[in-house]
Symmetry: C2
Subunit: 214 residues, 2 copies
């Protein structure tokens, strides 16, 4: 199945980048954008941008470009952002609480409905209106709520267990911050956040800049 | 300059991924790996993997593959991880503290040497041996320490100001978590973390999985 989709896979990876950049433009009150400007932001060629949008039926006009709002809507629909995704946060430490406080997720239809931890110190605390509950009450909570995504912000040694538990309770999306990879069933989607990759890329750029000064 | 490097730019982006995966293999005690296995993890073709490594002079052996440890070392050197990068965290809220507690950065040569905030509630607190200081003491601190990277974890409306201040004090690397983009001088490297892009990709995968069940 992966091989069949190889061509469109690269396009799919670019869609969130297009969406984010278009939302920045919209915020700035800009109503149209050229494939040239978009290509610079995404670091591909203008013709690749046009090809990407052509793939899902969006046509720019020569010398005019694309209308920001409809293009953003269209990409948002492809990404599933026409629906609300309900999320729970497993691990209510600093990272879990930082994500809960990240108001911009909600603007994009990602709604945090519960937070769970085992630490008696934080259970009962309220973060942006969400009370932190004990892990033991997760099954009961899932019986009452429709949850799409579990955010894994527990320490890495508990990440797998937390994800397995969420999956056994019917969750089909895992957003993993635990910097450890694990396999999930085929019908479960997973995205890993690897902050160290970005940090290494930064290290490379710094080194390259230093070398070009010498 | 960007155009000259377009070919190698894509390779550079893959290096942190290679490095991370090789470090997972090493941790598991695995000493060699095929281009085929690597290609699956990075989601490119095996011949692209071989081409990437060939570019910087690493040759695999037919039917044997690559030695994990030397390859990892070599990629680490290219990425600048043979040197220590000293970091300060600007914004000691939940996210800043979560990053300070992320022990794995230090293993890769990224050492947090200072944390700064303006909130009197957190100033004086100690996170993993680092005392949180007031922003006003940043200039004085920079006079005493050699700092390579400023991590921007202040609220987005203060991100630009914090980065500008760090740059004016001589910092050449910005790791930006503030989900707002800004320009920096040419000799300053910047990496943005856009968590929402990963979340949108997850939303897409969940939607796609649901569609394939129907």
């Amino acid at each position: 199945m992966r091989d069949e989709k190889k061509v469109s896979g690269a396009v799919i990876k670019r869609l969130p980048k297009y969406y984010r950049y278009l939302s920045v433009l919209r915020q700035m009150g800009i109503t149209r954008v050229s494939s040239n400007d978009l290509s610079k932001k995404i670091e591909i060629t203008p013709s690749q941008v046009r090809q990407d949008f052509f793939n899902f039926g969006s046509f720019g006009l020569q010398g005019y470009g694309y209308e920001v709002e409809p293009l953003m809507q269209e990409i948002g629909n492809i990404l599933g952002m026409d629906q609300i995704n309900q999320m729970i946060i497993l691990g209510a430490g600093n990272l879990g609480q930082a994500l809960a406080n990240h108001a911009s997720f909600e603007k994009r239809g990602f709604k945090i409905v519960g937070m769970f931890d085992v630490n008696p110190y934080c259970i009962g605390q309220v973060v942006r209106g969400i009370e932190i509950m004990h892990f033991d009450s997760l099954a009961e909570f899932m019986g009452r709520h429709s949850v799409d995504i579990a955010v894994i912000t527990v320490p890495r040694e508990h990440a797998r267990e937390a994800a397995d538990k969420a999956i056994s309770l019917g969750i089909k999306g895992i957003w993993n911050f635990a910097s450890v990879e694990f396999e999930v069933p085929k019908d479960v989607a997973i995205e890993h956040i690897h902050l160290s990759e970005s940090l290494m890329a930064l290290s490379y750029k710094i080194k390259e800049n230093r070398a070009s000064i010498r």
